[in-house]
Homo-oligomer: 163 residues x 2
Amino acid sequence: MFNQIVKAVPNLFTIGNLLCGVLSITCNMSGFVEASAIFIFLSAFLDLFDGRVARKLKVNSEFGVVLDSLADIVSFGVAPALLFHSLAVPSILTSLAFILFPMMGAIRLAKFSVKPTVGYFKGLPIPAAGLPLAGMGFFLYSNAWITLILALLMVSPIKFKKL
Amino acid sequence: MFNQIVKAVPNLFTIGNLLCGVLSITCNMSGFVEASAIFIFLSAFLDLFDGRVARKLKVNSEFGVVLDSLADIVSFGVAPALLFHSLAVPSILTSLAFILFPMMGAIRLAKFSVKPTVGYFKGLPIPAAGLPLAGMGFFLYSNAWITLILALLMVSPIKFKKL
């Protein structure tokens, strides 16, 4: 019983990450753009802990890894793209950046899930792509070129050092 | 080269599923509720094909399976929950159903990914939970109890026959 509870602890952080992603979208829909950005930051804060807590408690699980990807696509793929979309001036470039961002994010997550890298990341990790969009969104700023570049960096072969 | 293209075909369906999920949310944000529901149906249509096409072309891949889960959480977890949220009268029950639906969807997807079942599903599959919400949403109807029950059915131990 106690073991079961300990095992669930890191997943609570992951579920919190997902919840913040969903709440970010809800705030955005209601016009609370700054709150939408803050919820993405909260997601990132919770995302920092799930893996660390799991390793600390020695309860790493495949279930936890999959759940983490599912939370990440919502919190750092879809929510930041929608935040960008709410703020950007409509154009073909805006639509392209908006569509490509979550798609490249999903491809990045699926690639890493199949072939995890140790010590470095191949392609920009999705939280590192979503957070700049959240930061810009907090200041009611959007930039389609930056969004597009972040999207493409996620599926690029460039190596990024793990922090 | 030809092999690479054939290998990518099922993933194009999955990417299409994800795109329809994101577009469903965008339509919902712009107040086009019926269009939002239609995009969820389109996601389901594309979702029907990815696995079948992969098996037909004999190009099943782990990458495709992970990508499918990532598309499903957006198209059948987050998008239908947001559609319900847009139509429902605010209440504690509404909030509870809205929060639990994508969470239980993610848990269902992660569970199946770790322990796939053959010939049957343990717990209602996420498309089968998201589609009734889309159907109700198309007729501008929402019901928090139905949403809550669908959410809980996803993580229930009830066996559902594979169609």
